[in-house]
Symmetry: C2
Subunit: 342 residues, 2 copies
């Protein structure tokens, strides 16, 4: 079982002596293969291969004071943004960074503590927070931190409403179907994206002169959608719901059904995220296809720019999301709206 000879991996010195060069030359080879004479390079290359040498990254980190690692922090309970992570991970890799994904339990309090600790640990050179955090306290010895979806004060306007502008498109679409009375079941207001969507919703309602029976704060859960609908007064007259995401939308639909409201006959429901399951649900969900990959890439680019002290790239103003219309939305009932006194 146990290795009799726990043979240590080769070091740069062993490579050097096998290749008949100095360790400095091997080091040079590792940094830039072209700075060596072809003849020397071949000797070193051979030795590296023969010994299956791979530089000890710990030792390198120690000397260079670079870990080349980033951390992505997310809340353990929340939905795991797989596609975004994959894209972020790949982008970071291309930029020469390893990615450590830290899933932190507890509230935003504990999360902030953990992030702070991480930021000062010297283990990572930058942090991307996908969950909301409250950052205060001294900034000394801290690495750059990018909080997804939130932007610097300088970057208000379009960017401020990142990942939310399509809410307006949704409402306008529903208006075009004939809807006039709306409900918004929002996501966890600790998340920038949830706040953004809510404020765009409220703005749009205001600007288009529509009626909103409420913007209920939820927690991204199906249960919150269910509760929001079942908690409505019977005569509120709502005919369209803008849900924070697809899961919430499923809860809304189930809640409507439990009240005897037909979807989309009596109530139209719009989701967000284009999750696979929504396409196969009954009714299938109208939703927003989100370019999670682009979001992940953008976040990492931003973080890497901050780390390197380069100018921070403007967030793309170009919309990267688009609406998908399926069975959960339709014209409102021509008879008095669902639940209205007959």
């Amino acid at each position: 079982m146990a290795d009799p000879a726990p043979k240590r991996p080769a070091t740069i010195h062993q490579v050097a002596s096998l290749a008949g060069v100095s360790h400095t030359t091997v080091s040079r080879y590792l940094q830039d293969k072209d700075s060596l004479k072809p003849k020397t390079r071949i000797k070193v290359e051979y030795a590296v291969k023969a010994l299956d040498y791979r530089p000890n990254l710990v030792a390198r980190s120690m000397r260079t004071r670079h870990t080349n690692r980033l951390a992505i922090v997310l809340a353990s309970g929340a939905h795991f943004p797989g596609r975004l992570l994959a894209a972020a991970s790949r982008t970071a890799h291309e930029a020469g960074y390893q990615v450590e994904i830290v899933s932190v339990e507890g509230g935003s309090q504990e999360r902030s503590v953990r992030i702070d600790e991480l930021a000062r640990s010297g283990q990572v050179e930058g942090i991307l927070a996908l969950s909301p955090i409250s950052l205060r306290g001294k900034q000394s010895n801290r690495v750059p931190i990018v909080v997804s979806g939130s932007y610097d004060d300088k970057l208000h306007g379009l960017a401020e409403l990142a990942d939310a502008t399509e809410i307006r498109d949704i409402v306008e679409y529903l208006v075009s179907l004939g809807h006039r009375t709306f409900l918004h079941v929002a996501g966890d207001q600790n998340f920038a994206s949830a706040r953004n969507r809510k404020s765009v919703y409220l703005e749009t309602i205001e600007q288009l002169g529509l009626r909103s029976v409420g913007a209920v704060d939820g927690d991204w859960s199906a249960q919150s959608g269910f509760d929001a609908i079942t908690g409505l007064p019977a005569d509120c007259g709502v005919t369209a719901v803008v849900a924070a995401n697809d899961v919430v939308a499923m809860g809304v639909i189930r809640g409507a059904l439990s009240r005897g409201w037909n979807v989309p006959g009596d109530l139209s429901v719009f989701g967000w995220d284009d999750e696979e399951i929504g396409r196969f649900a009954t009714p299938s969900l109208s939703t927003v296809a989100v370019d999670r990959e682009a979001q992940g890439r953008a976040a990492i680019h931003r973080l890497v720019a901050e780390i390197r002290g380069e100018p921070i790239p403007e967030p793309t103003t170009q919309t990267i999301n688009h609406l998908i219309y399926r069975e959960s939305t339709a014209r409102p009932p021509s008879r008095p709206p669902a639940g209205a006194p007959s």
Copy 2:
């Protein structure tokens, strides 16, 4: 913007000189605070606080030859097992390990290459693979690798069928409702859990003398469930489907509906995973509640045991999953089964 004085974090030597002791004493303090005389300890404690000292983990790793880091590898496309990861992450943390989550793109080929690289990089002390990999090649300089759901050859029997035994319970339940003709839509057969479930399904069908119209290999997607159902001959007589997971089950239900088969009136469908959305779908999904936390913990315990050369803990034979019965399962139609010639 740029820090004018990029003040380096304090080192153990600075702490030592401030406390008026040797660096070794500070080091001892870090390992075991009780090995110091109270008077000395207080001096060191004060200095640590005053300098906001935190040990440089890179330097420590270099000396101890321990990184105290584990990697969890998963396929980037697949569903992100959030709860399992959270539990695994926490368990690892308790055992003194940091967790790096590596999401690898590409097929099992590329994944294996990446894992092999990781295993030899010296960056991590152990790897937990949640996605299937094919491990061959030389084992030298490799850290322990645990592949979730698969067990050593020694551990056949109960453990071999880990995370699958409930399939038998499902079939028995459906039999008790009156079902006799079954279909299984399996998950990606590269996954041990998918293989296990399929083989338990086939065994159970055999042993109970039931009829199976097939065990279709899928890929965990809703589409695969949809295709499996819509591809059936009209007169197959199936009345119950055991799906690989909830997402597949949703696809199955939608596929049945598209053929005019009512669920659960004509067809019962059982899922797996107890995803939140399944409780709010219409019909709500009968499913298996999986203790993902326990799975995550177990996997990490196993990995840590291997790293430390301790005896590998027996996988719990106790079942950690349980069945949840909802609307998607019911008695089979008393009239000729769905799709049978009338």
